[in-house]
Symmetry: C2
C-alpha cells in the first residue's frame, strides 16, 4: 500500500497509521498498538455516545427489560463484493436476526479476528462500512475486541457481531406460530447475495451486474408490525436460503407449506446464473430479504405496507400454510406438478456470509 493511501482516509484516521500499513501481531496484544487501532480506526468509524471501547464492558440503560439477543460470525470470501462488504454483512446480519423476532435492534458488539499482514486500508474500509451500516440500521456498536493471528492462520478478517434488541411485552413472533391458512409473504427477489458472491469467486461476467441485497430489514419490519398484530413468524433466508427457512417454520409449527413457484420473485440474471452454476435459487443465501407468515385476514394489508417500502417493492404472497403431518414444504410448478423443497444437507456455497 502506498503511504499516501491512508492519508485519503484521514477523516477516519487523524494520525495516519503510516508506520503500519499492515496489521501486525502486536495490534492484537492489548497494548499500545491495540489502543491505536481503537482510537484511530474503530472509535471514529463507530462513533456514538456509548462507545467506551477501552473498557472491559459497556454500561447501558435499556428502554425495556424484555430483550432479544443474537450472535453471528462472518467469514465471507471475498471480503468485498458487488453490493457490499463483510462490514455491511456483519452489521445487517445480526440486525436482521433481531428484527425477525419482532425486536427493535439497538446495540451491537464487534469482535475482529485479523490475520497478520492484513492491509490496514482494508480494515479502515470495513470499519467505515460497519459504521455506516449501523447508522442506517439505527443501531450503535458499543463494544469491541480485536485479536490477531499469525500469517496463514486466518483469512484476512473474520468478524463476530452480537446484538441486543428490545421486545414489547406482548409480542410473540416465532417460527412455531404459523397456522394453516396463513399467507407466506416474501419481501423480494431471491438469490441475489449468493449469486453476487459466486460470480466474483468464479470470475463470471454477466451482462447486468448482480449485486448483493445486503441491507437492514429493521425499518421494513417496524412498518409491518405497525400495520398488523397478526404477523406469526419471520425469517431472513440467509444460509440455506428460502428452503431452509420455510422448512424450519414448517417443522417448528407442525404444519406444511405450499408454494406457488411462479409467484417467487427472482431477477432474470440471477435465474440465468443459477442455471449456469447449477444452483437452486431457493437454496441460495439472501442478506436483505425476509419471509413473513401472516394471518390470511391481514396478508393484503401487510403486503401493501411492504410494497410501499424501498426494501419490499417486489414483495409477493408466494404460498400458504397447510395442515400436513409430514411438515413438508411443497412447490407447485407452472405446469401443475409438485416438488418437495427439502432442507440442504450442508450448503451449496460455503462462506457466503
Amino acid at each position: 500500500m502506498k503511504p499516501s493511501t491512508l492519508n485519503i482516509a484521514s477523516p477516519l484516521c487523524p494520525v495516519p497509521l503510516r508506520d503500519y500499513p499492515q496489521v501486525i501481531l502486536a495490534h492484537g496484544g492489548g497494548g499500545k498498538l491495540s489502543a491505536e487501532l481503537i482510537e484511530h480506526i474503530f472509535a471514529p468509524a463507530f462513533a456514538n455516545e456509548h462507545v467506551t471501547l477501552l473498557s472491559d464492558s459497556t454500561p447501558l440503560c435499556l428502554p425495556s427489560q424484555r430483550i432479544a439477543v443474537s450472535t453471528d460470525s462472518f467469514v465471507v470470501q471475498p471480503l468485498f463484493f458487488p453490493g457490499g462488504s463483510i462490514g455491511d454483512l456483519a452489521v445487517n446480519g445480526t440486525v436482521n436476526d433481531l428484527a425477525m423476532s419482532g425486536a427493535r435492534p439497538m446495540y451491537l458488539t464487534a469482535g475482529f479476528i485479523l490475520e497478520e499482514g492484513f492491509e490496514m486500508e482494508q480494515l479502515i474500509r470495513i470499519a467505515k462500512d460497519m459504521g455506516r451500516a449501523a447508522r442506517d440500521a439505527g443501531v450503535a456498536i458499543i463494544a469491541g475486541d480485536t485479536k490477531v493471528v499469525e500469517r496463514g492462520h486466518g483469512d484476512g478478517c473474520y468478524i463476530n457481531t452480537s446484538g441486543i434488541g428490545v421486545l414489547p411485552a406482548e409480542r410473540k413472533i416465532a417460527v412455531d406460530q404459523a397456522k394453516p391458512g396463513d399467507a407466506v409473504i416474501l419481501s423480494g427477489s431471491v438469490g441475489d447475495h449468493g449469486v453476487a458472491i459466486m460470480s466474483v469467486r468464479e470470475g463470471l461476467d454477466f451482462e447486468s451486474p448482480i449485486l448483493s441485497d445486503c441491507a437492514s430489514l429493521a425499518d421494513l419490519v417496524q412498518k409491518m408490525l405497525d400495520t398488523s398484530t397478526n404477523i406469526r413468524a419471520m425469517r431472513d433466508p440467509t444460509r440455506g436460503g428460502v428452503a431452509m427457512s420455510l422448512n424450519e417454520i414448517a417443522a417448528a409449527s407442525r404444519c406444511g407449506i405450499e408454494l406457488d413457484d411462479e409467484c417467487i420473485p427472482i431477477k432474470e440474471p440471477v435465474r440465468s446464473a443459477c442455471e449456469f452454476l447449477g444452483l437452486d435459487p431457493l437454496l441460495v443465501a439472501n442478506e436483505g430479504k425476509l419471509i413473513a407468515i401472516v394471518a390470511k385476514s391481514d396478508a393484503d394489508q401487510v403486503l401493501n405496507t411492504m410494497r410501499a417500502h424501498p426494501l419490499g417493492c417486489d414483495a409477493a404472497i408466494v404460498g400458504h400454510v397447510v395442515e400436513d403431518d409430514n411438515q413438508l414444504v411443497v412447490s407447485r410448478t407452472a405446469v401443475g406438478t409438485k416438488r418437495i423443497v427439502s432442507i440442504p444437507v450442508g450448503e451449496q456455497l460455503p462462506r457466503i456470509c
Copy 2:
C-alpha cells in the same frame, strides 16, 4: 479418531456423530449438519431453560434495565493447556469483563469459527468445558452460531463470546474513578496463565507443573461488593498483564500508582520460568485474577473478604494511588530503587487468550 471415542461422550451426544469424526464445511452451512452440531453437541452441553439455538435470536426478560455488555474473541494456542482450555477461557474471560464493572454476569452468546478437519472429539470437549464453566459462573449460554472455514484458513477453533450482566442503578465502578490515597489490591499471584501457555508451547518441563489460573471472578466480586460501596475500579489483568491494567487506570483517573514490588504475589515456579523465558511477570496475562482500587478506609475490610474466598486467598495490598500529573505507574524494588512500569507496545506472548 477411533469410532468408539465418541461413544464415550454419549451423554453429550445421544446419536454418535460417528459419520463425521471431523468437522466438514457443511457443518457451517446452516443446513441439516449445522442442526446436528447444535442438537448433539451444543444444546446438551449448554443446557438451560433459554436455549433455543435454532432461532435467529433468543428472547429474554432481564431483572433490570441497566446492563453491562462485553465481547471477546479467543484464539489461544494450544486449545488445551494445563489448567483449562479455550472453552473455559471463552466463558470466564467475558464473565470477568462483565464482573469488573460491578455487573452480575447473566447471559453469554457463543460464536464458533471452526476449521474444516477439526476433530469432533475436541469440539465436544470444548463445548463441555464451556457448559461447565458457565454453570460454575452462574451464567447461561443462550445463543450460538457456527461457521466453518476451509482447511488451512483457520486454526482449529476460534470462539467469540459476548455477555450481558445486570448493573444496580447506583453502581459506578470504572477505570476513571481511582483517587489519590486509594489502595491497590491484587487478588492473587501474577503470571500463572501466560506461563502455563508458554511452558506448553516451548515444551518446558518444570519441577512443579504451572497451571493456568483461568476462573470466574463473578462470585468473588459479588462478595467484595457486599462488603464495601467504596470499590472505585476493577480490572482483570489479561493481555498486557498487571502493567497494562494499572496504566489504564492511572491514565483514565489522571493519577499515578505506586507499587511495592515485594508485595506482589508471584509463585516461585512462575518467577523462575519468567526469568528463564525473559518475561516480566507484570506484563504476563492472567485469567483468574483481579486488581481492585479501593478507598483506603475500606481496604482492609475488602482484603479480608477476598482472603476468605478460594480465589482471593493470596490477595494483597500491593500499592496505592498517588497524585501524579504524568500518570506514571512506578514500582519500588526491595533495595529501594524505583522503576517505571510501562505499557507494553504489543504483547510478549501472542495468542495467550
